[in-house]
């Protein structure tokens, strides 16, 4: 038993221990990034592009109009008055559109907010391109002050023809206390 050969039990245990450690790492280096990549690629959960879309030259599709509805929700405990300036607008695919969301901080202290968008139907998410969005960055706002938050978007001309209405929903979170964390890039 004390020869130079590797003890078979030790070999088995070694392999299994490595496997267990790999599975632990798998959660962090595979599952989480893969989930985010899949959600981005497939528009699952209505996730939209998280960085500014570089517009490509495309003819505006004048043949159809898409209704874009805007919804705003405050996450629990978020005191801001937050909402779209218009509740809906009609746009042509391919055209560049602008709108603003209005935010008011009723408290006396300065706060930082993060808006998280979601598109419904989720199938439309990959055709909804934001070229400029207040949701790309955290939005600081002094106490008792208001701000206009700009949004610029293009609906892709490849949008399936059966989709006539797209709902863009923003949930606004209070991230004042989350300093130092990674910037939400949605």
């Amino acid at each position: 038993m004390l020869g130079m050969k590797v003890n078979p039990v030790a070999a088995t245990v070694g392999k299994l221990a490595v496997a267990a450690v790999c599975m632990f790492a798998f959660v962090f280096v595979v599952m989480v990034p893969l989930y985010n990549v899949l959600c981005d690629a497939l528009g699952i959960n209505g996730k939209t592009n998280s960085e500014a879309y570089r517009s490509v030259e495309a003819a505006v599709d004048e043949s159809r109009e898409i209704t874009i509805q805007f919804i705003a929700t405050n996450n629990e405990g978020m005191p801001w008055d937050f909402g779209p300036s218009v509740s809906a607008m009609k746009v042509n695919p391919g055209a560049v559109n602008d709108t603003v969301f209005l935010a008011h901080n009723p408290l006396t202290k300065a706060m930082v907010a993060q808006a998280i968008p979601s598109v419904s139907p989720s199938r439309a998410a990959e055709y909804f391109h934001k070229t400029e969005c207040f949701c790309f960055n955290r939005q600081p706002l002094d106490g008792e002050s208001s701000a206009e938050m700009p949004l610029q978007f293009i609906v892709d001309t490849d949008l399936p023809r059966d989709i006539r209405t797209i709902t863009l929903s923003y949930t606004i979170f209070d991230v004042t206390d989350m300093a130092g964390g990674p910037v939400a890039a949605r």
Binding site: P8, V13, L16, C22, M23, F24, V27, M31, M178
Partner: protein
Amino acid sequence: MGAHHGPAKGLGRWLFTTNHKDIGTMYLWFSFAMFILGGAFAMIIRAELFQPGMQLVEPGFFNQMTTMHGLVMVFGAIMPAFVGLANWMIPMMIGAPDMALPRMNNWSFWILPPAFLILASTLLMEGGAPGFGWTFYAPLSTTYAPPSVTVFIFSIHVLGLSSIMGSINIIATVMNMRAPGMTYMKMPLFVWTWLITAFLLVAVMPVLAGCVTMMLMDIHFGTSFFSAAGGGDPVLFQHVFWFFGHPEVYIIILPAFGVVSQIIPAFSRKPLFGYDSMVYATASIAFLSFIVWAHHMYTVGMPVAGELYFMYATMLIAVPTGVKVFNWVSTMWRGAMSFETPMLFSLGFLVLFTIGGFTGLMLSIAPSDFQYHDSYFVVAHFHYVMVAGAVFSMTAAVYYWLPKWCGKMYNETMGKTHFWISFIGFNLTFFPQHFVGLAGMPRRIPDYALQFADFNMMSSVGAFIYGSSQILFLYNVIATIVSGKPTSEEKTWDGAEGLEWTVPTPAPYHTFETPPAVR
């Protein structure tokens, strides 16, 4: 080696033992203690639900009870019980003198009681114990969790470590310590199912550890894995959790399959029908368990393609499971059957587990699951597979091997009485829950609409019957050990097969110090 001594004396025997039988015994007693603790939590739940309205406990405490009941039963009662059984039986079944890593074996047991002690201690902490359900979905378990969640995370880490060490030990034992001639396809099915279970554990317990580590980082270190505000996603939690959680379901049930695959042939006095197909079916179930997890979360808003994939993949599991049920029934076909207590519990397992399997099929259908999701129908389903599946088979195993363990015969009349009270109590508890679930009663609520009152009262009465039948079980086991009728027959059951029945009764402290000859 000093292998020819008996057990040490006093407390030190149990603290420092490396003997697989001692460690198996401790696992079994520990799991029974946890079974009683988790059962006590269940009794509080059923007492509150005896009548509509709030009678006994605060809603927050009720949530702590459902959470702790689930955690203690899954991680404290069922899993350690089967690990204990593996410790006792696997070396004896493959003709090995002990487990491959006896000292690590001691550690994997002894870190378990502290893990549950600190988990139970959360009940006394400020803010109470975790009340977010045994599935601890974020953000309930992160943003809205009580301070004790950190303690909970620590205890999950420790018990996960115990499980990983235990399963590495089992794999190392089975792969390296089989007696000469004991090829893989000659191994008893209990050894096979545990080998596959151990691989599942090594694969997914680290995923659970990763999951709670992410929770810990979200709570204390400012990350946002599960927080939408910081760019994370609460739905990610459910994917990670169920990637662990679905294989976990089979971790619990596969050893139970192994147990009944030993017992049914013994009392049918026929070899197991379709041994090879049993092995392949077990392996297929284990493989499929990794690719079906999202059927627990049909309602999170998956794309239709995803729903369909997870639905069909889940239904596929019915095929190998059906093969197993078919084989057990075929084993009994034209067998010279007798109905001692282990066989009764195995038959109870077979009937009730199949019912649980069928309700599982109903739940696998994505469009209907939208109605059943998070209802009492789900509670009924998983208690049919967890209790009537895992716990019944574990009880069968104790009656089956107890005479071999302690050299004394249990009281057969009391055993049969225990079975029938359990069987009736169990069905009275959980069968009506199908009805209230289909009618719309949600799970995890302390109060309910009036139309569910009668069925809930039946459920509660059944639960008290089932719970008290376990006292009879405990009494029977203790009475057997203390004053049971001594038996020295090597084979307690005339139809039993396997190496464990070739050693003297009671099984000596050390067995198979020289490997047996295997045909």
